[in-house]
Each structure stands twice: as structure tokens, then as C-alpha cells.
């Protein structure tokens, strides 16, 4: 899987000197961590800029680091079908909240809902409804402190309306 070329990473650093927290490379994959307040601007740029043309949002997910503050990092996998390159963008969810990118890519419509129900990370700018779990389910199963077998105390989760 080909990731964006080093000169394009330099271009990103030049264009967003304040927004980028870090750039990492591992096994040929480039990860750019962006500050929350610049996320939307950064994503819009990646979509429309002629060198990037990231027209497809492959996936949105999150990773939980309970020791860290902020605790969750939201991970976006972006791809350009015409340029045939990829980029991973990360954003730390301060206050367990990040801006929603659903207006830029429709893929986020369901994937953001999934991140919300599994981790409890909220996406500002949209109403989030649970996707896989009952609406009243009070826990977030993919958090590291959620036990593998689930909690034993019964909870009224089913809404049959």
C-alpha cells in the first residue's frame, strides 16, 4: 500500500505549521497527528488540494489509551484513487469530542456512529445514534476498562418500540 511521498508531507508541514503535532513513519506508512481545532480545515484541504485529492475516506476508528490525557485518539484512513496514495490522520479527542467529517466524506456517516457507541467519543455537529448496540446500552465495550465478559449486573437496555 503506497503512502504519500515525503515532499507532500513537507508541503503539509509548510501549509499547516501550527496544526500538525507530529508526523510518524512505520513500515512505509505515514501517520500525521493533527490538533483538534484544525482538523476540519486540514481534512478539507486534503480532499480538494490537487496534489493530495483524498477523495475516499476508507475508515474511521479510535484507539483507547486509558493512561493518557486526552484518552482517545480518532484515526482516519484516507485514500486518493487518482493519485493512488494513502495517508493516516490522527486526532486526539480532547474532552472526548472531535469535529465530525461527515460533510466532507459520507463514509463517516456510520463509522463515526460506531466509534461513538464503542468508545463514547462524540462527534460535534451531528446527532449520534447507536448502530450495533441497543440505544439504551450504558457502556462503551471497546474501552480498555470494559471487561471482556461484560458487566454482570442486569440493565434494562432493550427498547422495543
Amino acid at each position: 500500500m503506497r503512502y504519500v511521498a515525503p515532499e507532500l508531507v513537507e508541503k503539509l508541514k509548510r501549509t499547516f505549521p501550527e496544526a500538525i503535532e507530529s508526523v510518524e513513519e512505520f513500515r512505509g506508512e505515514v501517520t500525521v497527528t493533527v490538533k483538534k481545532e484544525f482538523l476540519l480545515e486540514f481534512m478539507r484541504f486534503l480532499k480538494v488540494d490537487k496534489d493530495f485529492q483524498m477523495d475516499m475516506l476508507v475508515d474511521v476508528t479510535a484507539v483507547d489509551y486509558p493512561e493518557n490525557e486526552p484518552r482517545f485518539v480518532v484515526v482516519y484512513h484516507l485514500r486518493s484513487l487518482s493519485k493512488r496514495h494513502n495517508l493516516r490522520v490522527k486526532c486526539w479527542a480532547e474532552g472526548e469530542e472531535v469535529p465530525s467529517v461527515v460533510d466532507i466524506w459520507k463514509t463517516a456517516e456510520w463509522t463515526e456512529r460506531e466509534v461513538y457507541e464503542m468508545f463514547g467519543v462524540r462527534f460535534t455537529g451531528r446527532k449520534l445514534r447507536k448502530l450495533l448496540l441497543p440505544q439504551k446500552y450504558p457502556y462503551f465495550p471497546l474501552r480498555k476498562d470494559f471487561p471482556l465478559e461484560g458487566y454482570e449486573e442486569p440493565c434494562e437496555v432493550w427498547d422495543w418500540e
Binding site: 513500515r27 501517520t31 476508528t61 450495533l132
Partner: protein, 393 residues
Amino acid sequence: MEREKVDLVINMGPQHPSTHGVLRLILELKGEKIVGADTVIGYVHRGVEKLAESRRYMQVLPVFDRVDYVSATSNELGFVLAVEKLLGISERVPERAQYLRVIMAELTRISSHLLWLGTHALELGAMSVFLYAFREREKILDLFEEIAGGRLHTGYMRIGGVANDATPKFLEELEEFLEFFPEKIDEYETLLTKNRIWLSRTKGVGVIDKETAINWGITGPTLRAAGCDYDVRKYYPYCVYDRLEFDVPVFHNGDVYDRYRVRMEEMRQSVRIIKQCLEKMPEGPVQIDDPHVFLPPKEEVYNTMVGLLQHFELVIHGIKPPPGEVYAAVEGPRGELGYYIVSDGSDKPYRLRIRPPSLINIAIMPELLKGHYVADVISIIGSLDPLMGEVDR
């Protein structure tokens, strides 16, 4: 915004036979026309990603067999490619294993498309195609049984190679299958491609144009039917796909009919790929020669102290990839099947995310169904080919 007045709200599924087991649709109707739709999923949510985080890398593999239960080998392949990338051993996996992986992945594609073709045709009223498709699928499952021991959950891929080498019987039967199968595809096409009922049920139904498909992240046959030639096998070749000649079928109307045409053509291409693999496959080992990754052969375990220690070490302590994160994807029968693994240097994945093609392909459904008739719903769901085990994970 004021909602349009509706005549009737109906539930389709989760037990409706054409909703692939456990997909529930809430349809708002005005007459026979759909004016609003909502999807309810999650009935078979098993928390596979959570489960994977509590298992060692080698123990995770059987869990992924059960995610997309009709194309288990593709799931396994995606995962082992991701772990190999994480370990940095992708280049060292023996060539014969790479060819065998491609053969199995393509057979899986054919068997999955046959299941789709049979059930989709059945849902639209064509009984014979269902019986024919399942007849041929049975042959592929026999082949799986011969090489891997399992028919549905094959458990064939391993980190660093494959479980077994191909037996002479497998190769013989595979060649036989490749001889007669293209004729069978022609047979299905005779029944359907120009069939007037089929055409009127599928042409111009559920149209997704190219821009919309890309914007929604749709991949696989649905994207290619909309005119985009994206195929992971061509864009980012894995295993030995870059050494094989094959075409990526692309159609341009983006309707149910074109999705059917793409899948039929893909089965022909899969046969072409497997034939080339059989010609080019070299002799040699099928497992990586690295005691930190692959269990040593049983003879060594039983007869040598070194073999016994290596076996013990790997079983007790497992594989420990360096800290880091990778994303690897394969072209599954339903589209891009990706695995995102975050490693913290321990023997278990810190975070393992499956990028399921079915989940992302069906997200468009509420939008897509609007303006269609109730009868078209079945046609549209079938054409997107969602596998609910994979949607719900």
C-alpha cells in the same frame, strides 16, 4: 423540516429471507413507493474486535474465519498480511505459499459469488440458478476440505505461510474444476443475462453513480459497477498478484444489473488467475523458516531438543511484533477488507480494527431505497451483497 405524510410503515426483516438473515429495514411507504427508510443492524454483534485484543496473534485467526463466514480464507489472508507487515517478514514468506494463498483467495471469491448469485436469483424468482450455483459451490467446498480439512471455516492461512501444502488430489481436482466451470458460468448467463424478467427487475434499479460511491467509501463489485476501476489487487498488489495477468471488470451504469455483470466477469477472471497460478507455482516450502514466527515441524518437536524449545517458546510466549501500527487490505469478494493493527510490543494486539466492506457498502441503503418500489428493495439489498456477520462483527 416537515416529514412527508406516509401511508404505511413496515418492517422488512430481520427474519425476511431476502434480508440476509439479520438486516432489519424500516420502510415508510406512500402507496408502493418508499419515501423513507432506516436500517437496524447489530443482531449478531459478537464483539470480535474486543475478543481479538485478548488473544495472541496466532489465536486471533480462527475468530476471523467467523466474521465473513462464506469467505473465511479472504478474512484470514487480510489478517496474516497485516501481521506479516507488522513483523516486517512480508518478503520472506515462501513463494509457493504466496501462490497457494492466491489460489485459495480466488476459489473463495468464486464460492462467495456463487452463493450470492444463487440466493440473489432465488430472491428475484429464479429457482434453477440457485440449484446450479450451489452444485458448483459444493465442488469448491470439497476442494477446501481436501487441502485444509474444513469446508466453511478453513483455518488455512498462517502467519508466515499456509497450514499445508497442496495434495496431488487437490491439484488434480482443481484442474478438473477449472476445466468445466467456465461452461457453467455461460450456463448461468444463458438463464439470466438476457432474461426479460431479470432485466426488468435489475436494469435501472438502485443506481449509484461513481462520485456518490467514492464519497460513501463503497468498494468491490458495487464500486466497479459504477465505473471506477479500483481493485486492491491491481492498485496495491499483495502476494503474487503483480505477476499474474487479469482484467478488472468495470461497468458504468451502477445499477443492480451491472453489479451482476461485474460479479459474473470476476468469476471468469478468478478462473484465469488460478490457471496461471497452477502453471507458475514453484516447488518448495510453504512455511517461513523462522522459529520466532512459525511452529517447527512436528518431527523436529518430537525428536530434537531445539525443536521442542522453539515450539514451547512460541506457544507459551507467542509472537511479539515491535510497537507500531499498520493497515493492510485485501480485495475480498465484497470489497476492500482491511485490518488496522496497533501493536504495543506485547504478544496481543493492542487494538485491532476490521474495516468491513459490507458495513460500509450498506450505509448508503437508507438514501438509496428512497423513490424505489417495495419489490425493488429485495433486488437492491441482494445486489449490495451484505454479509451480516461481517456487518455486525
